[in-house]
């Protein structure tokens, strides 16, 4: 996948985050990863409220867990997709349930993909690669980074 893409992992469970990172590496996705432990941290980062600033030269892809403390994934998705400047950021929802109500809610809010844990890493990596490719082809990111 394009090396300019940073994979953001918003996941409160250390085990789940480690498994995701290990499996992405195993599949040859060597992109840098950023880990956040709850919705609030990831929003602070995306809205540049953190010391650690986003790099405007780079593209970001968000893997977003739903059940997180403080601010959950659905709320993060709602805020991102409701924000003109951030809504083109690709978001893959990660969750432990295939509850159709929840899936629908995420799709309505505009998530790009929805995957159920335990992850079938083959299809998960395919989703990531596809989104990565998509990001490269349509070159969204520079608009994404404007105006922050």
């Amino acid at each position: 996948m394009n090396e300019d893409i940073i994979v953001i992992v918003a996941e409160d469970d250390d085990g789940h985050a480690t498994l995701i990172q290990k499996n992405l590496k195993r599949a040859g996705i060597m992109n840098d990863m950023l880990r956040f432990r709850n919705g609030e941290e990831v929003l602070d980062f995306l809205y540049d409220r953190k010391e650690e600033k986003r790099n405007p030269e780079l593209y970001y892809l968000l893997l977003l867990d739903i059940r997180m403390p403080r601010v959950d994934g659905i709320e993060v998705l709602r805020q991102l997709k409701g924000d003109e400047r951030l809504k083109s950021l690709p978001v893959i929802m990660l969750t432990t349930t295939d509850d159709p109500v929840e899936i629908n809610k995420c799709h309505q809010l505009g998530c790009n993909s929805y995957v159920v844990k335990p992850l079938n890493y083959e299809s998960f990596i395919e989703v990531i690669n596809r989104l990565g490719l998509f990001m490269k082809i349509v070159k969204i990111p520079n608009q994404l980074n404007e105006g922050f």
Partner: protein, 360 residues
């Protein structure tokens, strides 16, 4: 009425006597007759009026009340008729019927409320089963696969490498780092699962147990609770102020749990910026008793305040505990038909309030 009736009777007799004795005196007869008619008319009018007062008005009221009851109005009262006749009996029976309907309606409402609560609990359990309980299982499954992968990797390294010293380094890394890490995650996930299941059981026990209500001497109870926290209080150098507390009607062991959870939370969420203070006070307001546990700890941001009573919800992610204490408090207070709320601001502290209805 009776007087008039007698007057009519006397009039009739008089008329008859006059007719018999003074047959020729027609003028007198005519006057007598007119007088008689007036008295009869007056009697009829008064009888009618009395019937309206005694029968029609109460019947009208009954009809109005009946239609209001059937339209769903509650807590209606009929003007009490202190009479033993049929209408009195009807009116009293009707009032009793209304009171009975009201009572059974209240019962249905209470049961409905309980059912709604239970439904909410059930929804929460489903949510938790599909998220929190599955989470450790995903780790167990995932890291088991990791271990299998890593063992396979070791086998491949051994099979393929001719240079054993290079192979050795890779294998040692897998054996010393990756595989133990995976086992550590598996172990901590089983512990987490155990913790969550225990928490769920604890909560369901609170939900199922029936209240054994009695007068609770809060001064005594709170003093006892503070003694059990003596070690932590001393350790964290917290000063505790307990005001004179009003008693309440409650389940003592449950109220004990409520205040223990509050105190434990306060102690856990102190800040290093200032010496810790906790104050417990209470007062009676109208038909309820209100208590407050106040601290000068880290406080809770407004945006989290709604979520903190949810099961397994932790705002302070780094603190110990499974996010159960406030959920149990809410459950207990709900069982007492009271309410719980908070007033908190970050870096200043929190005030947690509970209200318990006074016995009626």
């Amino acid at each position: 009425m009776t007087v008039l009736f007698i007057a009519v009777l006397i009039g009739s007799i008089a008329l008859f006597v006059i007719q018999v004795n003074f047959n020729e005196n027609r003028a007198l007869i005519q006057i007598g007759f007119i007088f008689y008619l007036v008295v009869v008319l007056l009697t009829i009018m008064l009888i009618g009026r009395s019937m309206v007062i005694r029968i029609v008005i109460p019947l009208k009221e009954l009809a109005t009340i009946a239609s209001r009851v059937s339209a769903g109005e509650r807590n209606l009262r009929i003007t009490e008729l202190k009479r033993t006749d049929e209408l009195g009996v009807l009116s009293n029976t009707f009032q009793k019927m209304i009171t009975d309907i009201d009572a059974s309606n209240r019962l249905v409402n209470d049961l409905n409320e309980e059912l709604t609560e239970k439904n909410k609990d059930l929804e929460q359990i489903v949510y938790i089963s599909s998220h929190d309980l599955r989470s450790p299982l995903i780790n167990i499954q995932g890291f088991n696969k990791e271990i299998l992968n890593e063992l396979k990797e070791i086998r491949e390294i051994l099979d393929q490498s001719s240079d054993l010293s290079e192979a050795r380094e890779k294998i040692i890394h897998l054996l010393d780092e990756d595989i133990p890490e995976a086992f550590t995650y598996i172990l901590s996930s089983t512990q987490k699962m155990d913790l969550l299941l225990n928490a769920l059981l604890k909560l369901s026990r609170v939900g199922r147990s029936s209240l054994s209500l009695g007068p609770v001497d809060m001064n005594q109870l709170v003093a006892k609770i503070v003694r059990t926290f003596e070690y932590q209080i001393e350790e964290a150098a917290i000063s505790i102020q307990i005001d004179d507390l009003p008693s309440c009607m409650g389940d003592e062991s449950m109220i004990d749990q409520v205040f223990s959870n509050f105190l434990s939370n306060s102690i856990k969420h102190m800040t290093n910026d200032r010496p810790g203070k906790v104050r417990i006070h209470g007062y009676i307001k109208e038909d309820e008793t209100i208590y407050c546990v106040e601290d000068n700890g880290i406080g809770i941001d407004k945006k989290y305040q709604e979520r903190i009573f949810n099961l397994f919800e932790k705002v302070d992610i780094d603190k110990a505990g499974e996010g159960l204490g406030l959920t149990i408090i809410r459950k207990i207070i709900e069982k007492h038909k009271g309410s719980v709320w908070l007033d908190s601001s970050p870096n200043k502290g929190s005030k947690f309030f509970i209200s318990i209805p006074s016995p009626k």
